[in-house]
Amino acid sequence: MKRQLPLAIIFVMGVFTLVTNFIPAKPVADVNQMFRNWYLGIITFFTFLGTINLAKVNADRAKERSRDWQYSIILLAALATQLFLGFYKWSPDALREGSPFMYVYFNLQFPLESTMYSLLAFFMTSASFRAFRARNKEALLLLLAAVIVMLGRVPIGSSIWDGFPKVTEWLMTYPNAAAKRGIMIGIDLGLISMALRMILGIERSYMQ
């Protein structure tokens, strides 16, 4: 029963979701929406679970004086501060512009996130440097395509030769789009195959 019940639920829900793609009738759509709302409710509950887990893991680390335990203290302090700023009754509410909660968000969290995102520019350069080494015929083709696309996308490219933007456009519209669509068809078929394995209870590594 411990195994059969989850499998039965997965089967019923899987078949129902598949069928709703072809049945537009309102009663069916309403039931589908109801399930989605349940999911949202569950997700909200899990937000609390995540926060509790984060606090517990870091409190344990600080208590046991594990390596770099000082970071856990900073994290717990930040968590407590933001919780206080978020829950305290600010006039009119904590999410208004200029409130202490939003001040911390816009002046601390937002710049920190932007800093992390900006790292991408440097990582892209280092990854491209390795990827574009012409070690074999395929890598040489990749290098040539990359050079053409890069020159086609910057003003200096068309100054050197006005054909660069046109060749770039052709590369992106035909070979690139064709390859992407081929991968997408494969992805969708793989997805159907995996979904069937789960609906039929063939793939159940997560519950054996």
Binding site: F22, P24, L120, I183, L189, G190, L196, I202, M207, Q208
Partner: protein
């Protein structure tokens, strides 16, 4: 020593030039503002020129829907037909009775002569009128109705339904074939999966941990589910070798599912006591906060093998490059097409698209699961045939076949 504002000019001279530029700028801005205000006054002073109303041609139920939409078509205002640009938009107004109060349900720009009102209730009667608007006037069409939207139980996508049935049937047939011929299903080897043992073995030999990231989305995303299937097999090997698994999660539900999956794997190999719940932990839902947390773990713990399997966005390359800098062997897999090149460039092995979904079955080596991959290949052959047929017929000027697969 004192810094001057600019070289070559004295302070007083610079200030005079700045003041002159400012005065000139203000004068130009004032003139422009006057000119704009003149135009606006002129528009306001324009006499209202009457325009002819649009004529509603039909109100019909939107086919193959749940009874929540009506299609309204009309003939554009004759004024617009003879003098393009006069009418700027059409407002679609709806009421529950011909004499009822009309409320706007939408608007479309000039030259458009159709609108779908997607806010109707099945079986209820509605009356419509279309208001043509120019800059200075409006013209109301006759009220037409009643229009009734009807609920349908089938959305009419015959070709898509046929394709789904074919794909499911081919997979089911191969499952049945695989059940009959146990152990004789051949599926090509995936290099990234062959490297799983090597990666975990390397981590074990070096006495370091294995890092597993299941992507940035929750368990309602199929890629995360596929990642959990792979995690189950990977955790089995990790438990067998006695290596440490580190798994930071960016969704609490993902963490919960990962814990259950890994716990089951440890129990399967008979080492439930080695399972450490706190090694699978929640970091944050925030995308770049999660990136910072994972990068910190990579730099501090220096895991010898990194797995990135699931749905990734901009964080993919940051993870992969940080992992590369720590010297870890890296195995990635995603169905996010735009992130695949980053993983291919920065990781040692990459599961491309469908391979991510097939990986769980392939790692299990279960003939029945492998059978589903064979069935999937049959469906792929059908797609190739359909594409070739579509191209040939399209080149011959026959579009009927391609139109069968249009979703809208």
């Amino acid at each position: 020593m004192r810094f001057e504002g600019s070289s070559g000019f004295g302070g007083k001279r610079s200030a005079a030039i700045l003041a002159a530029v400012l005065v000139l700028g203000l004068a130009v801005a004032g003139a422009r503002a006057e000119s704009v205000s003149g135009v606006s006054d002129q528009t306001a002073d324009q006499p209202a020129v009457a325009i002819a109303p649009a004529v509603i041609s039909s109100i019909a139920d939107t086919p193959h829907d749940g009874g929540t939409s009506l299609d309204i078509t009309w003939q554009i205002s004759p004024t617009e037909a003879t003098n393009p640009g006069t009418v700027i938009e059409y407002k679609i107004m709806r009421a529950d009775s011909p004499a009822g109060e009309f409320a706007e349900v939408g608007s479309v720009p000039a030259t458009t002569a159709a609108f779908s009102d997607g806010s109707t209730l099945p079986g209820r009667q509605y009356w419509y009128r279309v208001d043509a608007l120019s800059l200075t006037a409006s013209a109301t069409s006759e009220v037409i109705g009643p229009g009734v939207s009807i609920m349908q139980w089938y959305n009419g996508r015959h070709a898509v339904l046929a394709l789904v049935i074919f794909i499911c049937a081919s997979i089911l047939i191969y499952i049945s074939v695989a059940r009959r011929r146990k152990g004789k299903v051949f599926v090509r080897r995936i290099p990234a999966l062959d490297a799983v043992d090597e990666a975990i073995g390397r981590a074990t030999e070096m006495g370091k941990s294995v890092l597993y990231i299941a992507g940035g989305l929750d368990i309602d995303d199929p890629q995360t589910v596929a990642s959990m299937n792979i995690l189950s097999r990977v955790a089995e090997k990790i438990a067998t070798y006695g290596t440490r698994l580190l798994m930071p999660c960016c969704r609490a539900m993902q963490m919960s599912m990962a814990r259950e999956t890994v716990k089951e794997s440890y129990m399967r190999v008979g080492k439930p006591d080695d399972y450490k719940e706190d090694d699978i932990r929640y970091l944050t839902d925030d995308q770049f906060g999660f990136v910072a947390g994972v990068d910190g773990i990579m730099m501090r713990e220096r895991p010898a093998a990194n797995f990135y399997l699931g749905a990734f966005y901009a964080e993919s390359l940051i993870f992969a490059e940080t992992g590369f800098s720590t010297g870890a062997i890296q195995i990635a897999g995603t169905a996010m097409i735009d992130q695949l090149p980053f993983f291919v460039a920065a990781c040692d092995y990459t599961l491309i698209g469908e391979e991510l979904y097939a990986a769980g079955a392939s790692l299990s080596q279960d003939p029945v699961q492998l059978g589903t991959i064979k069935g999937q290949d049959v469906a792929k052959a059908l797609f190739v045939a359909l594409i070739v047929a579509g191209v040939v017929l399209s080149l011959a000027g026959i579009e009927t076949f391609n139109n069968l697969f249009l979703l809208h």
